[in-house]
């Protein structure tokens, strides 16, 4: 049986040792790991892992079941068509912040998408205090219609309680 790629997604209450326990179980089961992203969101542990495995989805699930139980994780596994070695390089970065309110992400990303932005990376945090939360978001992407149209879109949004700034990302190759 040839090895297949799966996307393994796990969520749970954060605690020390989750990554090492999960990856050790995967290694013991003959898995090969690809790209991964782990993040703590609001005190919760989240991870997405590309896993190459020569068995079925159920067999992969069985392999990590003991760790999943002991670490109290929720697991989701999808069979995927993996493309490695074809990274897209962002050419623009947008930073947005403002008093936290419903709809900031939708408003900003809709405007940027309509102005030609292909979002490659998005991160956001809620900073400030409980009484006065501040929403901070960083987006990186490719400006398919140029940076001018993105700036025009941000100019419309800015001033509605949101500060948004745009900068070109110049990638040096040497």
């Amino acid at each position: 049986m040839t090895k297949k790629w799966y996307m393994l997604t796990m969520v749970g209450k954060d605690r020390a040792g989750i990554v090492s326990h999960v990856t050790a179980a995967l290694y013991d089961g003959g898995c090969h790991l690809g790209e991964a992203t782990m993040a703590r969101l609001g005190g919760n542990f989240t991870i997405m892992l590309m896993v190459k495995f020569d068995g079925s989805r159920q067999a992969l699930l069985d392999q990590i079941e003991p760790v999943v139980q002991s670490m109290d994780l929720h697991v989701h596994i999808d069979s995927i068509d993996a493309k490695l070695h074809y990274h897209l390089v962002p050419d623009v970065r947008v930073t947005v912040y403002g008093a936290d309110r419903a709809g900031i992400v939708a408003q900003v990303t809709t405007a940027l998408t309509e102005a030609g932005l292909n979002i490659l990376d998005l991160e956001s945090d809620v900073a400030g205090t409980e009484q006065q939360p501040i929403y901070v978001m960083t987006i990186e992407g490719q400006a398919s219609e140029g940076i001018v149209s993105l700036q025009a879109a941000l100019d419309i949004i800015s001033g509605q309680g949101i500060e948004a700034s745009l900068s070109a990302i110049e990638t040096m190759l040497a």
Binding site: H87, D121, M172, L173, A174
Partner: protein
Amino acid sequence: MTIRDILLHPSACLKQVAESVLVFDDSLQQLLSDLQETLELAPGCVGIAAPQIDCSQRVVLTAVKESQGGCHGRLVLINPEIIQHEGQVRGREGCLSVPDFTGNVIRSEWVRVRAQDRDGRQQSFEFSGFEARVVQHEIDHLDGLLFLDRLVSRRHDLFRRKVYRDGGE
């Protein structure tokens, strides 16, 4: 002139400190020609260091267009040394020796560099911004460092607490 293969990481030559050039002879001129031709064939590439073509000598070529605000165009830097630096700025870098990966690296915004030309004459240059980044990236190659050794966090632009070789941090 010969187009040379670019060494890819992992490779011993990319991780060792290169030797100073002491003799400015025909073989050095040949090396410069090879570097130039290899650089020209790499699309979008603005610099190359001798260790990248498996030659552990302190030789660097840079090629940041002069139209890009006060840059020097094609430059040969032999035995280059950063003798002064100012400011810190984050920027995204890629490397011919590390295909399909780009990452953020903090570099000095301005550097003064002492180097010899192809005939061994001492010269001094000031580089800023993008060109300063290129020069620092290439000089790192001479010290066995890749930009991977200087990556900063994707999520937060933290300045790494790291002692750089020039002791300036």
